[in-house]
Amino acid sequence: MGKPIRLTFQTLQVLRALLNDPAGEHYGLEISKEAGLPTGSIYPILTRMEVSGLVTSAWEDIDETVAKRRRRRYYRLTSDGLEFARDEVGKAARSLAPTRHRLRPGEASA
């Protein structure tokens, strides 16, 4: 699978936040907290992901008067999105991990 969207650090953060609970439903405020990004800045990312088919979204099914709050729009990773998120977050984690530098016998005294 190719890259359906441009991967930025923020996009990776959002993917990571969604990947923490892939089966769960996440709403904007929660995703922004999880991703450590300013609230409101994640919507272009979520829109691109939705347009690319990486996430789907649906309205929460609640009675607003009983819940005493407005219904939320929930986002969830699709199967393609899950695969993509695992690949890309894994790659990013590997590239950011500290490289194990083996000392050769002569380097320790240098």
Binding site: Y27, L29, V51, R72, R73
Partner: protein
């Protein structure tokens, strides 16, 4: 001189800053809502309702965080143009795909009509030819019957389209009526307490009281008592 100016600025800052901060806090919620309304306008029309509801819900959940609401709404405003572009591109793509599908369906229909007409015409020619009719009559019959089958297909298509349009119109009308009913209901629910009390009084089985009696519930004025307007000194 400069020391005096610095002291003055310091005092002004000390006195004014808390006022400014309080003012922002007080107005933040209203401002945030206005910003969201403006941001929504930057999106394609088809997506406005969804994002308006989504963003308003988000701001609502940030209760008692007035400044955060404002900051959040400003972030949304900054993001709205790029979101609008993405959504417009997506809408255009969908429109192209839909248009292509419709053209394909239209093409299939035309081919089907040609095939049916040819088949009917061909069969007519074959049957006429079998009965040893002159060639000219066989061709005339074939064209005539083929033409009738073609016109019948067009009429049938037209009827189907007409039915579709009527069904859509009926559905739209029902939807609009439901929406109007909901709006009216919301508007009435949103009227003030006085209207609600007034409505309750109107529908109650008790006799309505005059305002004089209602103002003074403990005091019972006989209906024929004259009201004295003599000023007290």
């Amino acid at each position: 001189m400069s020391t005096v100016l610095i002291v003055l600025l310091f005092l002004l800052n000390t006195l004014l800053m808390p006022l400014v901060v309080e003012l922002i806090k007080e107005r933040a919620v209203g401002l945030a809502q206005r910003v969201i309304r403006f941001a929504v306008r930057l999106l394609p029309r088809a997506h406005r309702d969804r994002y308006s509801e989504e963003w308003t819900a988000e701001l609502d959940e940030m209760e008692r965080q007035n400044v955060s609401q404002l900051v959040s709404s400003l972030w949304i405003l900054l993001s709205a143009p790029s979101m609008g572009r993405v959504l417009r591109v997506q809408d255009r793509r969908q429109l192209l795909v839909k248009g292509g599908h419709e053209r394909l369906t239209g093409g299939v229909k035309v081919v089907r009509k040609i095939l049916i007409t040819s088949l009917v015409g061909g069969m007519t020619y074959y049957v006429t030819d079998l009965s040893n009719q002159p060639q000219i009559w066989a061709i005339t019959f074939a064209v005539f019957i083929g033409g009738i089958s073609l016109i019948t297909q067009f009429i049938s298509d037209f009827e189907k389209r007409l039915e579709n349009v009527e069904e859509k119109q009926a559905a739209q009308l029902t939807e609009n009526l439901t929406e109007i009913r909901l709006l009216i209901k919301e508007e009435f629910a949103g009227t003030n307490d006085f209207m609600e009390r007034f409505r309750t009084a109107e529908v109650s089985a008790l006799q309505p009281l005059s305002l004089d009696h209602a103002d003074r519930p403990g005091k019972q004025t006989p209906p024929d008592a004259e009201v004295s307007h003599t000023p007290t000194t």
